[in-house]
Symmetry: C2
Subunit: 456 residues, 2 copies
């Protein structure tokens, strides 16, 4: 082991200076967002009431392949980037596989996940525009923590709606947001109409991401100088995350290899996009045959069992209609521990790419993901986030297939975050207290029915 | 800010190849350890029943200035070292100080603290000797987690006695040790005579580090092929931690500066030694005038209010008699949140250096330390461990003094770990629910009285 290089490190000067905008190069462009009232295609200015102008423009930019990273953002990236690319010799040995396994370690960020890659530019652009208050929602808390950090760095007030069950069961993410100075409200709350409506109908509601999004948008649109931000699903979020893959591309070259498979977990698609898009462009233009695997929980299987339709991004219906793979905006995912993957839809770009065969989804039971996570912790020394455990479990499946087939393929996965604030979930797994949950066809159909009502 | 370098990064090749053994260069050597029965000076072979041979030899090595780091250990260091040296521009700005503040970021290790620097070589040397089982104790859990990690890397079984109140109140460190495969027992337990004795007298005992050490030593000495390890206080632990300061020395040179003050928190002395000793050698030999400041909690003030005497390292009296600054081995520190600083004594080398005026202690109320920690989180983006908050608070005092005096001194502190598993402590601080505690003179005297009985 001693003479093998494990970590491929880039100096600060190699932090990308531009993000990669895959929209400009996709063989089939995404379908337009539709106005929920008129059902007409949206212009970016239609998004200005919700998002800051630069993010709105990036959202619908289908022409510029490369978009400059502002120097102020790049400067903040220097607090932890470039992140390491690691050859997982320990995991390879534990699996006795001929595959070469690499992972990009995004868990080293100050908030423990990749979410900061987009929180910083989003807050920066808002600050530039003179916005003084930002709202958002958070499920497990990774995104809310990243947003709170970014707001503390740029001196903006942050208001975070946190899904109530997480607020109560996972108080530490809330603590971290408080430390960074953010105001955190359990959702549904009585502070918005959307929240009041839910609480009136379901006084004991545990909340959902869809509801929290509705509350955060409502607050943003009704408060002066206040905008909304989102940590996944949207195109500009995927754009910002491409720093992951752009660095990884250089680091794989340092290792003298190119990935046969690129693997990431999938909630709304932000970390998947980040690692995948910079490699996928070589599939478009240079005939590379890399496979892209999105690992989702079997309890929330939008990629493998969802439908490609126009649907809302939130529960109440404040967002534009988005053309995406969805389980229906009222879908109520089971309370699995990978809170970041409990979302009903996939991003618009990713949905188009899935439809066109550029990526494939694989759905995993959470028990398999925790088993893989513990194997990873013992062999590589890092406790992964429950979300990231999905990427690891999918990688383990591939590595065992390589072993069975005697192939030494190159596997690259994204370690999107660490699990140090999610140790209670590991406890429950180790105590045999976790159940797997697969929604029945009739359950899936009952939610999918709601979509049709909204079809243009 | 954009053009200023914040992080000074070294490549893997700059990981030190040797540790610095300050014992060989100290103006006054430490007094010998004494056998608790015979009161005669110990030879290293007298330690073999407790520790592995190499650690025992390093413990009493007063001749070799440099000790080679085994390649297998250096290879494991590559999982996260070299750690960054960071110029804290954000903190400087928040304090409006002319001081230049730097910190060495040891929180980036896979277990979140500097403890791994010594856990890896200790486990490695045990493995080389054919040891199959290792015991240790842990208070807040930082050391136990590092030991569990190291044992999982080298394939050795770990048994950790965890102070009962931490076991119950801070379950997440225990979870992390379990994930790495260690067996964790709350102390006092019925598995040892030391534990049984305490439980017989005090059935409701919350435990203490002193008791847990007694239990871990007893198990090690009574189990075949089993040795004990310790995460602080001892000389070989300080030795291993010097990688921190050796890297920092090169990084300060990259920044073109040399520290006027080196600051670290102080429990048993491991992280303090690590950052301080490599700089202190230039005070010995080249007439440098750097000041070394050890930040301890006012509730456990061994450096500022302890006595320099021979005392036991544990509560039951299994350890050799150590010449050290101590509050008495029965001292019961208040339940502050910086669990890693709740220890009655200072390391033997450090005690001699304190006696000879090479370092000074400063004692801090925990409320001041949390206030400093939150200021640091908001200005530098990292949530520090409650222990590390003591170093930050002492640095803030120095920076404000520099401001009052109009001096731009260079301050370097060690960020020994992050506080992401200690967020409940921050919650209590933010809710105004933390109290400060200063032991009275009569309380201190009551414990100091016990020492005299043991004097040679």
């Amino acid at each position: 082991m001693s003479n093998k290089t494990k970590r491929f490190l880039l100096p600060e000067s190699e932090i990308p200076t531009q993000w990669y905008n895959i929209q400009a190069e996709m063989p089939n462009k995404p379908l337009p967002f539709l106005h929920p009232g008129t059902k007409q295609p949206l212009k970016s200015s239609d998004l200005y009431p919700i998002f800051c102008e630069e993010c709105s423009n990036q959202e619908l930019n289908q022409t510029d392949t490369w978009i400059d990273i502002p120097e102020e953002v790049r400067d903040r990236y220097k607090n932890w980037r470039c992140t390491p690319l690691v050859r997982a010799y320990g995991l390879e040995k534990a699996l006795d596989t001929p595959a070469h396994i690499y992972f990009k370690n995004e868990s080293v960020s100050p908030v423990g996940s990749h979410k900061l890659n987009s929180a910083l530019p989003q807050v920066y652009y808002n600050k530039q525009q003179g916005v003084t208050n930002i709202t958002t929602e958070t499920g497990a808390g990774q995104w809310g923590t990243a947003l709170a950090y970014a707001c503390s760095q740029f001196g903006i007030d942050a208001a975070v709606y946190m899904v109530k069950i997480s607020y109560e069961q996972k108080p530490y993410r809330r603590s971290m947001m408080n430390i960074f100075g953010a105001q955190v409200t359990p959702s549904p709350s009585m502070s918005t109409r959307a929240g009041k409506d839910i609480l009136t109908q379901h006084p004991d509601s545990n909340g959902s991401l869809g509801t929290a999004i509705s509350e955060a948008i409502e607050l943003a649109t009704q408060t002066p100088n206040c905008k909304y931000t989102l940590g996944s699903v949207l195109n500009h979020v995927s754009l910002h995350q491409t720093v992951i893959g752009l660095e990884a591309e250089k680091q794989m070259a340092m290792a003298g290899e190119y990935p046969d498979k690129v693997i990431a977990c999938f909630g709304g698609g932000s970390n998947f996009s980040g690692i995948a898009f910079p490699f996928m462009r070589h599939n478009f233009s240079e005939g590379k045959k890399t496979e892209f695997i999105a690992a989702e929980p079997e309890s929330c299987p939008k990629l493998t069992k969802g439908v490609f339709e126009y649907d809302f991004g939130d529960e109440t219906g404040y967002t534009p209609l988005l053309p995406m793979y969805t389980l229906g905006h009222n879908f109520q995912p089971a309370s699995i521990h990978a809170g970041g993957l409990r979302y009903h839809g996939a991003g618009v770009i990713l949905s188009q790419l899935l439809k066109d065969g550029y990526l494939k989804g694989v759905d995993l039971p959470q028990s398999e993901t925790f088993k893989a996570g513990i194997l990873f912790a013992r062999s590589e020394g890092i406790v992964p986030a429950p979300e990231s455990c999905h990427a690891i479990a999918a990688t383990v499946r591939e590595a065992l297939r390589c072993k069975a087939e005697g192939k030494s393929e190159v596997l690259l996965f994204n370690l999107s975050g660490h699990g140090i604030i999610d140790l209670a979930s590991y406890d429950r797994y180790m105590q045999g207290d976790l159940t797997d949950y697969v929604p029945s066809n009739s359950e899936l159909e009952s939610y999918l029915k709601d979509i049709d009502v909204l079809q243009p």
